[in-house]
Assembly symmetry: C2
Homo-oligomer: 655 residues x 2
């Protein structure tokens, strides 16, 4: 070894180490998510070599803050530390952890164990040196107090008195606060996106405005939708989501039940966006004007509701951009524009954009401007259609761009695709994500999936939004299903997930007819291709049940967030039992997954998850029917007759 040629670096490496910071998404590449008012709890391993004690601090800053706030972290044992801060406003936050050698505490701990008087005296002088150092960095009376303490530790001879000096917790805390942070290390600034509360708790009602008229056969308008807002609010929803409201393409328009060519009078799919009169910033003339739309948006806001708009980045063949920007579309070798396809299926009525176009700047900016246009008109929630078919980098850029100017914007990702892709989209900035709930039916499926959603690390960035149905999906278990099944699926979505939604009118009316039973999940006579008249006053409507369930969601904080979810074993596989908690508010659901038969069984409650003693006596009140039962301890009996109710939704009241 040529020792002469080599040497250690001049600069001193940090002594302290920080590992395993949580929350942390892909090492800090992506932001964790919270909503306003939440406490952010940060944990980390912080340690140094040898016997020296360390101290850790949590630092954070919110949007617009130049300075960082800081608080001491609490030691949890085994080199782990915890701190927290509350986020009080929307926007991008940051946090970091720092760790340094706490010479003062290390000294004090050793000092208080010393016995030999001479040893105590020498060690007291070592402490005096440390405290004098703190004094030199302090000001005013703190400086005076520390200077006096240092002198006392140097001058005093009596070991007991010296130990008493070192035992002054308050003064030692002052000394630690002013001590230099030797060997300090600090993490990167981890990103955190704070949104408004509706990002965590929302109840969506989807309706086609064109079917909103009370008159059968008449084309609905924004005015009709506005007239329905009070009913929808009374049902307990707070988001009204409209499929695209733009002109619908006429070229290659699909007919009823998705037949290849429309007949005269067929209204076409609202997702076939754009015709000669306009594209993504135009409004379908039969729905009304921009002024009408803005009136609807304001009308929703007055009711503490809001309108969610559909963002579907694709065009009909007669969308004005096809001619104006030919380079935004890929061509086939025969010169025709490349339509959407999934061989052998062809969607000739839909042209996807070529996001790799040489005019990438033009296209991406134009799409960003579409969202900005509607945000400027007051829309604050966007349900994004098929985001998984567009580049990831596009969404990360677009959402950040919109949020910069419209920080209240909430984005829902409609991506029913592979798990990794759905998770990536959530990481990129989507506030909420569609989930596989739509197809999770058995106790095992529901338990496993919702445990993943609510307990795994991905909850830091992936906020589930659960839908029992959508205009595209009448899931197989709802094909010709009975009312109990409809009640059950709504109740599961609404109580397992703080964010949920229904494709409303057909769900209220328990529309259960598939186009191809057992083969496809398309509705028969799907509203995607025709005007519908939903007779919501029918006797067998699910509206009263939905109203009751949403009222529970709105009344019980436990149902307004996801992380407290816990499952409780039942000795009958058709019964699913779970709970949610928010402080003293506890909801326990026992659901009968069998829509045909009465099921009964013994529940073994996870009393710790419920915050109850093992032997506690308590009252459970079924909030659906008002009945109360006295329970004691963890073993309790439930029996559910599907004709009467799909579930108990108990509130828990300790005796």
């Amino acid at each position: 070894m040529n020792d002469a040629r080599r040497g250690i670096r001049e600069e001193v490496a940090p002594i302290a180490v920080i590992e395993n910071v949580t929350p942390r998404v892909d090492g800090g590449r992506f932001a964790a998510k919270r909503v306003v008012g939440e406490e952010v709890t940060v944990t980390a391993d912080g340690f140094a070599h040898g016997h020296e004690k360390v101290a850790c601090a949590l630092r954070w800053r919110g949007p617009g803050d130049n300075a960082w706030s800081e608080s001491a972290m609490e030691f949890l044992g085994n080199d782990r530390w915890r701190g927290s801060f509350t986020v009080d406003r929307i926007g991008p936050w940051q946090y970091s952890v720092s760790c340094w050698v706490d010479h003062l505490e290390s000294w004090r701990e050793g000092f208080l164990h010393r016995i030999d008087p001479a040893d105590v005296r020498v060690a007291a002088r070592m402490g005096a040196e440390l405290i004098a150092e703190s004094a030199s960095l302090a000001k005013g009376f703190e400086r005076d107090d520390l200077t006096r303490l240092a002198a006392q530790l140097t001058g005093e001879q009596d070991p007991t008195t010296l130990r008493r000096f070192a035992g002054d917790d308050m003064l030692m805390e002052v000394a630690r606060r002013h001590a230099p942070r030797d060997g300090a290390t600090e993490t990167i600034a981890f990103p955190l996106i704070v949104e408004r509360e509706r990002a965590r708790f929302s109840s969506w009602y989807e309706l086609f405005p064109r079917s909103a008229s009370d008159k059968p056969g008449a084309h609905g308008t924004f005015e009709d939708v506005e007239e329905r807002l009070d009913e929808i609010k009374a049902m307990g929803f707070n988001v009204v989501y409209l499929p695209p409201i733009h002109p619908i393409g006429r070229e290659k328009r699909k007919g009823r039940n998705n037949v290849p060519l429309a007949e005269e009078g067929d209204v076409g799919s609202p997702w076939g966006i754009g015709a000669s009169e306009g594209g993504h910033t135009a409004i379908h003339s039969q729905l009304g004007t921009l002024a009408d739309f803005k009136h609807l948006v304001r009308g929703a806001k007055l009711r503490d509701m809001e309108i969610a708009m559909d963002i579907a980045f694709q065009v009909a063949p007669d969308h004005p951009w096809v001619k104006a920007h030919p380079s935004w579309f890929r061509r086939r070798p025969d010169g025709s524009v490349q339509f959407a396809e999934n061989p052998p299926k062809k969607y000739e009525d839909i042209y996807p954009f070529d996001f790799d176009t040489p005019d990438r700047q033009g296209l991406w900016n134009a799409l960003r401007d579409v969202v900005a246009f509607w945000a400027r008109e007051g829309v604050e929630m966007f349900r994004v259609d098929n985001p998984h078919t567009k580049p990831f980098a596009f969404w990360e850029w677009l959402i950040a761009e919109i949020r910069r100017d419209y920080p209240r914007s909430i984005f829902l990702s409609e991506a029913f695709t592979r798990p990794r892709v759905m998770h990536r989209l959530a990481k990129l900035g989507f506030s909420q994500s569609y989930t596989y709930f739509t197809w999770r039916v058995t106790r095992e499926e529901l338990t496993e999936y919702f445990t993943e959603l609510s307990q795994e690390d991905s909850r830091e960035y992936f906020r589930p939004n659960c839908w029992p149905n959508t205009p595209d999906i009448l899931p197989y278990h709802l094909h010709n299903a009975n009312p109990t099944m409809f009640r059950l699926r709504l109740l599961l979505a609404a109580t397992l997930a703080a964010n949920y939604g229904i494709y409303g009118p057909p769900y209220e009316l328990m529309e259960n007819r598939p186009r191809d039973p057992g083969v496809s999940e398309e509705y028969l006579d799907s509203e995607k291709y025709e005007l519908k008249h939903w007779d919501r006053r029918r006797a067998e409507s699910l509206t009263p049940f939905i109203t009751k369930v949403n009222a529970l969601r709105n009344a019980h904080a436990a149902l307004q967030s996801d992380w407290s979810l816990a499952f409780h074993p039942v000795d009958n596989g058709e019964l699913l039992c779970y709970s949610k908690r928010a402080g003293a508010n506890r909801i326990l659901v026992a659901a009968n997954l069998d829509p045909q038969r009465t099921q009964a069984g013994w529940v073994t409650l996870d009393m710790e998850a419920l915050g109850l003693d093992e032997q506690a006596a308590f009252t459970v009140k079924d909030e659906l029917n008002g009945e109360s039962y006295p329970w004691r301890g963890k073993r309790n009996f439930v029996m559910l007759d599907p004709v009467k109710t799909p579930a108990h939704v108990f509130s828990i009241h300790p005796a």
Copy 2:
């Protein structure tokens, strides 16, 4: 929004995404570890948006390689990919994963699903364009073949023939190989440290050379140790580890049983390093000369064994450096050098270094040079004493420095401290680490701890080395323990861990007398403070048993690595059953943890872990006593009488 002011970046972001690469230690900050000859399996998520297929490649290079090697990764489903490469030499390696959009395969998959003849013809021309692009990047006959294929796809009209062209797997593979990698992304180069096999499989025998003489009372020498090598080799060990061999301080030397002051003739602790005649590069004169030591090192190598040296970075008060480099030591306020202490305990015979000294360069380089000195003399294994009391940055720097010139160097971390600290040291570069095995006794403790060691992510960097005893530790369960307990603990260490060691002579002789029974784990009359004469020819020696166990380790590949460890349930809590596998070589251990009573029970074998069918018939042969039993299926009975044996060590032979 001021649209005019903003626009997307000019450069095109990558389309493909890579996540969750394994192995990966702290995001690539630290190296994973392997030994020569092992296959490195790398997995990753690789995907893009939409329906486009991606391809992934694994790249790697070894020490001295300028170019990267590359191989295609295999698709495992659910966006996960796997590749592997074999490491054939010692040193720092790197690997990375790349992922890109596979336009050709995406095209081909869609193409083969097309039905409509006109559609097939248009789509064939799209494929022709892609293949022509590959042709333009290919050379020679490959270029010719691809050019012809492109022409065929353009010119041919018959859909069946076109499909046949696209179905030519070999030619399509050539086309893919030359295709441009659109939207490619690549990970960082992840570090990988490859060591020699002994880093993974080693059997350590610790002895004090000063007690190696056959003559009672005589001070042992390196020559005595060399004479013992054949016996130690016959016992099956391959590493002989010597406590420090340097001059021992006389100032404040501790006496027998660690009494504060030595009496005339007390030899002192070898860890009290340094006296007037020299320090860390000098040799205690009674042991011999440097030439004698080198002779011993060579003697070990000739026997395919090696000498491991103790690196203890601390000094006795009369170590030459105390006078020569006063700035390397901290002073107490009374001007004396700060000795080691753990209040109220004082170790006045030991001075720690001040690693933060203003002469940091001088101290750190000097310590590095100590290791380099012995490496130059042929030592290739270093057992580092108390590394956790020195800065982490120091070890990362020192180990890298030594490895650069002496890449065969193996470092064992003797850090019986907090888990995070032990893991950090392993990440920094230590080849092997002491473990808590020494104190893990019950079935639950052993199962949990060895599952963690062998199955968790930390196995990528943390290689356990298990010791039933050390000169510092006669664990409580060995206080006055019977021979069965000694056999049991050795057998557990030797079969649960591929790296293990014993503090040899007292273990062979089952020395079980503590200095303070139940209070301290110090040996009575510890060899740390006195010469011992170990009468290894005593009838009750454990030597034959140790020899047998080591012979099994050396004969069975299954026992030479750790990751295959699997535990098998037994219905008797005193029985512990586990297995290891290396290909067809399978070892199954059933141990009786109760050294007093016969225990029996039914084992439920994890047949998958053993690579056996659920109903397989097989023979188990107890390699300790040579007896064989026919077993069938997973439920089997075992009964163990501790007087006869602490365990069955079965080899498994499928019928």
